[in-house]
C-alpha cells in the first residue's frame, strides 16, 4: 500500500524528473567516455610496452652477439690487401657478418676500404674468412687494422695471430722469419756417382754437431716459417750452409754445402745445373731442408762437398728466396759444428 502510494506520488508529481534524467544522462555519459578513454589508454600502453619489450630484446640480442676474429693476417699484393681471419660465433645468437673494414696505418698512406660480406654464423660456427680489398699505395711493409661489422651493428676487430715466447726464441729473439730446430740438426754421408747420389744412413742420419773431416756429407736442418704475415717462403738455389773455421787468424777457412732437393728415399734429385726446384716453407709447418752440393745448382752441376779442415766451426745458414711476392734473405748463425 505504501509502495503503491510512493509510485503514484512519483508519477503524479513531475517536479525533479528533469534533474534526475539530466543527472542520469551525465553520469552515463561520463561513465561511457571515461571507460572508453581508460580502455584506449590501456591498449596504447600495452602497445608501447610491447614496443619497449621488443626494443629491449633487440638490445639484448645485440649484447649477446659475440663474434671473434682470430688468427688474423694481412697480405699485400700490389694494391690488394688480403685479410684472413678465423671467424667464430662464440655468442648465443645467430649472427650475420656484413662488412669488413681495412685500414692502412702507414703514416703517409692512411687509407681505408671495405668489402661487403654475407656470412651467416650459428652459435659455435667457425669460418675461415679470406677477403681482399683494394687500398691504393698499400705495401707489404705497412701495418693494417681491420674489423668486421655485423648486421646488429657490432664491430669485431681482427686479432693477429699471437707470437708466443717459444716462437720468439726460435727465431733468434724475434729477428728474422725462419726458426731452426736445434734438436733436429742431422748430417748424412753422401754415396754414389754422377748423377745418382743418396744420403745414408737414411732417414735417421747422425747428429750434425760432430762430423768427419774429408767426408762427403750433407746436412739436414729443420726450418719453420714464423713470418708474422703468414706468407710462404720459397728458398732458391743460392741458399747455403756455410762453415767457418778459426784455423788461421788472418784468413778464414771455410766449407759450404748448397741446398739440394731430396726425395722420400734419400736420393738427391737436383744434380744437373738448373734442376733445383725451390723449397717451400709454408707458415708454421716445420720442413726438412737438405744441404749437400759444393755448387750452386743454378750455376753448375751438383758436386760433392766435404770439410777439409777440422776443429770448431761456426755455421751460418744463409737463406735466399722469396716471401710472398718479395725477395727474402736471412742468415741463421747459431749452430756450431766440431769437425774431427
Amino acid at each position: 500500500m505504501t509502495r503503491l502510494s510512493w509510485l503514484r506520488r512519483f508519477f503524479r508529481d513531475s517536479k525533479g524528473i528533469s534533474t534526475a534524467i539530466g543527472t542520469v544522462l551525465l553520469v552515463l555519459a561520463m561513465f561511457v567516455i571515461s571507460s572508453n578513454v581508460f580502455l584506449f589508454t590501456i591498449s596504447q600502453n600495452t602497445l608501447y610496452t610491447q614496443a619497449v619489450t621488443e626494443s629491449h630484446q633487440t638490445d639484448a640480442d645485440r649484447f649477446n652477439e659475440k663474434i671473434v676474429a682470430l688468427n688474423g693476417n694481412h697480405t699485400v699484393a700490389g694494391n690488394q690487401v688480403t685479410v684472413e681471419a678465423d671467424l667464430t660465433n662464440a655468442g648465443s645468437v645467430a649472427a650475420q657478418v656484413i662488412k669488413l673494414w681495412v685500414f692502412d696505418t702507414y703514416p703517409t698512406n692512411q687509407r681505408y676500404n671495405y668489402a661487403s660480406l654475407d656470412l651467416n654464423l650459428n652459435p659455435g660456427d667457425v669460418f675461415r674468412n679470406v677477403v681482399t680489398v683494394t687500398i691504393p699505395g698499400a705495401q707489404t711493409s705497412h701495418s693494417f687494422v681491420s674489423y668486421f661489422v655485423t648486421a646488429r651493428g657490432n664491430t669485431v676487430p681482427v686479432t693477429a695471430a699471437e707470437v708466443n715466447g717459444t716462437i720468439v726464441a726460435q727465431v733468434a729473439l724475434g729477428i728474422g722469419k725462419v726458426g731452426m730446430d736445434f734438436d733436429a740438426f742431422l748430417y748424412y754421408n753422401v754415396s754414389g756417382t754422377w748423377p745418382n747420389y743418396n744420403l745414408t744412413v737414411w732417414p735417421n742420419g747422425a747428429e750434425g754437431f760432430n762430423v768427419r773431416k774429408n767426408r762427403d756429407i750433407a746436412f739436414r736442418v729443420t726450418l719453420t716459417n714464423f713470418d708474422s704475415n703468414k706468407r710462404t717462403i720459397q728458398l732458391n738455389s743460392h741458399s747455403v750452409l756455410w762453415m767457418i773455421f778459426p784455423t788461421i787468424a788472418t784468413q778464414v777457412r771455410c766449407a759450404w754445402w748448397y741446398i739440394v732437393n731430396v726425395n722420400g728415399s734419400g736420393k738427391i734429385l737436383s744434380t744437373a745445373k738448373g734442376s733445383f726446384s725451390d723449397v717451400s716453407l709454408p707458415y708454421g709447418s716445420p720442413a726438412y731442408v737438405y744441404f749437400a752440393s759444393s755448387e750452386d745448382l743454378s750455376m753448375n752441376n751438383f758436386g760433392l762437398s766435404s770439410s777439409g779442415y777440422d776443429g770448431p766451426s761456426a755455421v751460418n745458414l744463409m737463406l735466399f728466396g722469396k716471401i710472398g711476392g718479395s725477395t727474402f734473405g736471412q742468415n741463421i748463425p747459431f749452430v756450431s759444428v766440431y769437425v774431427t
Binding site: I21, G22, L26, N36, Y48, A51, T58, A151
Partner: protein, 175 residues
Amino acid sequence: MYIGRTQMLVRRISRVILNKRAESYVISAVILAGVAIAMGFAVLAWAQSRSSDYGSQLSETMNAETAKLKERLAVEYIVYDESTPPPKIWIYLLNWGTIDDVGVQTVHIRKDTWHLTTSTFTLSFFNGTLIPDEDLDIGEEGYILISSIDLDDGGYYYVRVVTVRGAVFDSTFVA
C-alpha cells in the same frame, strides 16, 4: 455493467482534455526535461569530442614513441679528411633497427666547449650515389658527408646523430 465502465472512461478523458489547470505544469516539465536531455547530449558530444582528441593525440604520441624505440643506427666508421679542401667528415651508418625510413635530422659534433650542429649534409649509399628518399631502411647502409668543417688535427670529437623521429645515437672519432 460495461456501459457504466465506458461512461466512466469517457468522463475521465473529457475531464483531462477539458481541464486546463495542469497544462502549464506539463509544459514546463516537458521543457525542463527537453533542456536537460539536450544539455546532456551536448555535454556528451563535447566530452566525446575531447576524449577523441585525447585518444588521437595519445595514439599519435605512442606511435611516434614506438617508432622511435625501433630505430637503431650504428656508426661503422667516421673519418675526417682535410687532405683535399674543403675538409670533410664521412659518417658511415648502418640501420640495424626494426623500422624503415630512418632519416637524419641533425648531426652534432662536439669537442670540449666547441660545438657544431648541422643539418646541411648529404646522405649517400656506400657506393657514393645519393639516397633518393634520404633515409635508411632496415639493413641499409649509407654515409653522411659534411663538408667545409675545420677540426683540430688529432682532436677527440663526439658525434651525435639525431634522427627525424628524435632518436639519438652517439659516437666518437679522432680527427
